[in-house]
């Protein structure tokens, strides 16, 4: 699975520009599913399984897109001014490198900072692609880039620029691979534009009109020096979301997930997240409403170029989902 993860996390795919990563995922899953199509916004939607008498239509969602930057101005000297796509922080940009969707590469630097220890706003930063003038700059206003950083395998811990949310994409691909039998009609949605407001999931959920929705995404942790207060830690298992700032998970679904994890003795943690949300918030309020929840992969340093997950949490998430989706689900 690490080879798959490496391939997925090293691909560039900022929100709205998911074509390359989508093609990669589609190639992985095409032989394993009944049908895979791409909708009007670019969501990749794969169907697997037939609905038995006690089965449900279930939408699973992991987003293809990652945060990035978009060029707003090329100055006379060929430096590129930019703004964010999704939650990009200046503190993790400076000194970093980017790769534009067209292929150009560059480094991010800042104007002289005054005072020097103050974190600047994004408009004080620029990208240097090695150009010397506006004319020879290979980047145009509106061109989009992702952060560039190679995959790092530390054994149990894995680091990459886009664990959010390629690690969940890898989990769903692996679930598709391992799941042999299910009473449900499963729709694996590899969604677009999550980082700019869970937009892809809005239209995918409308189109699918599912009985149940489950997002698979990363969540924050509270296990680093002087970090936020949060129960979730790396290595203690996938997290069952109770709430985040965009969604209250369906309590019946939460109970059901807890029971199954307990029965199978899969380690798990309960997640209460202060800020942030996932595709589940869009699924939940689609049409007449959908019971929804989220399985989270704990992740340190989210929205930095070095996001860290624990490989055992990843494998346990796969194990959990294969079991969860392989049997009947009763929301009581």
């Amino acid at each position: 699975m690490k080879d798959l993860i490496r391939k997925l996390v090293e691909t560039t795919g900022p929100s709205g520009f998911e074509a390359e990563i989508r093609d990669l995922v589609q190639a992985e899953i095409d032989p394993l599913v009944s049908e895979a199509r791409v909708d009007a916004l670019g969501n990749l939607i794969a169907r697997k399984g037939e609905k038995a008498a006690d089965g449900l239509r279930i939408m699973l969602s992991a987003h293809l897109d990652e945060i990035g930057v978009i060029a707003t101005h090329i100055d006379e000297m060929g430096f590129i001014r930019f703004t964010n796509i999704g939650g990009v922080h200046a503190s993790t940009c400076i000194g970093g490198r980017v790769r534009f969707v067209g292929g150009a590469r560059g480094v991010i630097q800042a104007e002289r900072l005054d005072p020097p220890d103050k974190i600047p706003s994004l408009d004080k930063l620029y990208i240097d692609v090695g150009a010397t003038s506006r004319e020879d700059c290979p980047v145009k206003v509106g061109d989009v880039a992702g952060f560039e950083r190679p995959f790092l395998d530390l054994g149990d811990r894995l680091v990459a620029k886009s664990m959010d949310d390629r690690i969940a994409v890898a989990v769903l691909v692996e679930v598709i691979r391992q799941l042999k039998d299910t009473p449900h009609e499963l729709f694996f949605v590899f969604s677009v534009q999550e980082e700019v407001g869970t937009r892809g999931a809005i239209t995918a959920a409308f189109g699918l009109d599912p009985d149940l929705g489950l997002a698979v995404d990363v969540t924050l942790t509270g296990d680093t020096p002087k970090s936020r207060f949060m129960e979730v830690c790396l290595g203690k298992g996938p997290a069952i979301k109770v709430r985040d700032s965009g969604m209250l998970a369906d309590p019946r679904l939460v109970d059901c997930m807890v029971q199954i994890a307990g029965r199978l003795q899969i380690p798990y943690q309960m997640e209460v997240l202060d800020g942030g949300s996932t595709d589940a918030r869009s699924i939940q309020v689609s049409r007449a409403g959908v019971p929804a929840g989220c399985l989270s992969i704990p992740c340190r340093y989210v929205h930095s170029p070095s996001e860290m997950v624990d490989y055992r949490d990843v494998q346990n998430a796969v194990r959990f989902l294969v079991e969860f989706l392989g049997g009947p689900i009763h929301l009581a």
Partner: protein, 364 residues
């Protein structure tokens, strides 16, 4: 003989400017767009297959193409409403407290003449004369609570709940246009012209929307009704293109006058469909039209609401640039308007089925 539609973009002449003037002098503060709606209905009815005013007050227009299938159902949207004010409390003697409607900054208000209500009752937002200002008064913007709309003693027609706009009459100034509501009557007038010169290869679905300025509310329900294959929003975007005071390079112009229509690639509400973005850019190049890419960043248009309706709608926006948006007077260029109209026209005539395939092949 009819001219080839692929080479015959409509022009802006006296008739079009007169219509823009009429639209711009009408008052349609968000929530009561009736005055503009009446003008739109009169203009579109002779050219439409079907016209409907929906539950929220959007004017929806259907006009099918005549070319062979497959034709794309193309939704165009421009908003009828404008930012303004509402009278909220009667202090007596012709004085009213006021609230803003939509993105209007208090600093723009004091001292400006206004029109109040459907009858355009003249009034003024009273400002403290310089004679009575302390040093602090001069440094600070007045608070909204301290401002009053003064319609003059004895007027009984103004009442709480009335909407008010700046009393700015439309004017053409050489190559420029000045008006209070060019955002987005420019878009409204553009769509009316496109309907009058409807290309035969597409089915046009026009939404003259309400309540854009307070959260894209009209467009959302209009897109639900239309369920289109793709959407193009026609709006007006602020040009922040004056030279910097210290002559440094202006890197935050958003867009510039005289550079042609501003094509949106990303704002805070929408990432433009890359296929439509490529199509618009290629169309401008092919027909030799000036164009500019609006600087990606904040702001949003009706496209944000349309794009995420139902199963999703590939969407993009295009704007006529204008200086001093959401103040008493916006200034735009006639040439930018005409080039926006031309770019939209050719975008439609050159729209082939391959650009937005109907199934199994999403945004690339």
């Amino acid at each position: 003989m009819n001219p080839d539609p692929r080479n015959a973009a409509p022009k802006i002449g006296a008739e079009q400017i007169d219509l823009l003037e009429k639209l711009c002098n009408a008052c349609a503060v968000t929530g009561d767009e009736s005055e503009v709606r009446a003008i739109v209905l009169e203009e579109v009815r002779p050219h439409a297959a079907e016209v409907k005013v929906d539950a929220l007050g959007n004017v929806l227009v259907w006009r099918s193409g005549s070319s062979a299938e497959p034709r794309r159902k193309v939704m165009l949207a421009a908003h009828m409403d404008e930012v303004g004010m509402m009278l909220v409390m009667d202090d007596g003697d012709g004085l009213f407290r006021v609230e803003t409607v939509g993105g209007l900054e208090v600093r723009q208000m004091a001292g400006k003449p206004v029109w109040v209500g459907r009858e355009h009752i003249p009034g003024v937002i009273g400002a403290k004369p310089i004679h009575f200002m302390s040093g602090d008064d001069r440094r600070r913007a007045p608070s909204l609570e301290s401002l009053r709309v003064d319609v003059g003693s004895g007027s009984t027609k103004a009442r709480v709940g009335d909407r008010a706009t700046f009393a700015t009459r439309f004017q053409r100034i050489g190559p420029s246009l000045r008006g209070k509501a060019l955002d987005d009557r420019l878009g409204v007038a553009t769509m009316i012209e496109l309907l009058k010169h409807a290309p035969p290869n597409v089915d046009l679905l026009l939404a003259f929307t309400v309540q854009e300025e307070i959260g894209l509310r009209g467009a959302r329900v209009a897109a639900y009704t239309f369920d289109p294959h793709l959407a193009i929003v026609v709006d007006s975007t602020p040009a922040n293109d004056l030279p910097a005071w210290d002559r440094s390079e202006n890197t935050v112009y958003n867009c510039r006058l005289d550079r042609g229509p501003a094509i949106y690639l990303a704002d805070s509400g929408t990432i433009a469909d890359p296929r439509l973005a490529r199509h618009l850019l290629a169309t401008a190049e092919k027909h030799g039209l000036p164009y500019q890419v609006r600087q990606p960043g904040g702001g949003s248009t009706d496209a944000s609401a349309i794009q995420r309706q139902r199963e999703g709608v590939p969407s993009i926006s295009i704007s006529v640039p204008g200086r001093y948006a959401h103040t008493a007077a916006m200034l735009a260029r006639l040439a930018d308007w005409e080039n926006t109209l031309a770019l939209l026209y050719y975008t439609l005539t050159d729209l082939t089925a391959e650009i937005i395939p109907l199934s199994g092949n999403g945004a690339k």
